[in-house]
Symmetry: C2
Subunit: 203 residues, 2 copies
């Protein structure tokens, strides 16, 4: 059962470590992801991890960068899938939920980093991620308002906060349920209520 000591490039291992962290975060608190657990998940010794990252902080930073690229990428792509603002919103919502379902560790890592005191490089990166996210969100919401797809009295700032909160609520519910099963269906319902709040009162 002993592994015959596979050698891989540092680049490969770096990517592997990031994925291992995401996988570990999916089923345990980011706070107790140790370098030993990461190594064990890759069939490596603990010391080997430090051949590819100088410090643990660097690992978290790499994970944050991965999330930034992939989540923002998916959101961007979704926002370009249609010209109708409300359809864009739905696509973005689905993309985000899909991402969270595929990588349940990601939202936890984000939340965990944000509640750390002070500001590390990781935290700054996460903040930038969320600011960018909120930016495109506000843009789409403003479009919807200008194009009369949303209510004239809609306040876009709280609407963006509620959008993000809706996703967090679903993530939390999935943590209660103990898994991501059925989240996509629940997301459908939640987005329906949200959308109703966006379009406002109509005839």
């Amino acid at each position: 059962m002993e592994s015959p000591r596979i050698r891989r490039s540092s680049e490969f291992r770096q990517a592997e470590i990031v994925q291992a962290v995401l996988a570990l975060a999916a089923e345990s608190s980011p706070a107790d992801i140790t370098t030993a657990r990461i190594a064990a998940a890759m069939n490596l010794t603990q010391g080997a991890v430090f051949r590819h990252f100088p410090t643990k902080e660097a690992i978290w930073l790499a994970v944050a960068e991965w999330i930034e690229e992939n989540l923002l990428g998916a959101i961007e792509e979704a926002s370009l899938s249609s010209s109708e603002p409300l359809a864009q919103l739905r696509a973005m919502f689905c993309a985000h939920i899909g991402f969270a379902a595929a990588y349940p560790g990601a939202p936890r890592l984000i939340f965990h980093e944000l509640q750390q005191p002070g500001d590390s490089a990781v935290k700054r990166r996460i903040r930038a991620l969320l600011a960018s996210y909120r930016g495109t969100l506000l843009q789409v919401l403003k479009c919807a308002k200008d194009g009369r797809a949303a209510g004239r009295e809609l306040d876009v700032e709280p609407a963006a906060t509620l959008f993000i909160g809706a996703i967090q609520g679903l993530v939390m519910q999935s943590m209660l349920a103990g898994g991501m099963r059925g989240v996509e269906e629940a997301a459908e319902g939640v987005f329906g209520v949200y959308l109703s709040g966006i379009v406002g009162r109509r005839t």
Copy 2:
């Protein structure tokens, strides 16, 4: 500056420890709240903490019970403040946000416990708390629907999820902002959008 060794009853210290944990959780991740930090916050030695709680887990449990009593108490009270379902919802929302603003550590502790794997006594308690919360929420939402205050086509389950998510979104935003300043005002706006989603399309 040396403290003259104040003696307090164990009951008093237990309550003090719970408050210390809540205060510490307000400005750092629950994961790195150590018994040493708790003791330091109370001007006590680390060993003294274990005079009043047999284990650290017992401390978390006591904190969970405190949150359960106080948060659910505030919510319950708010739900009784009116006979109109929508006014009840607003009161519950404000009560929850007020609680989160007064004890910013509380939502973090809840979230942190939920993402722990397996099920501890603490986690079970938190789950019970949230189930109870959701129960009264669903009750009020159903009332609103039956009394035609909410849209006939409203699905109460996602509506409850979105309600909780709305609060989480505000908590997250406050973590980004680095404080609870201005949350109450932001809450106003978010609840407005949420409410619009609940009442649905009207003439």
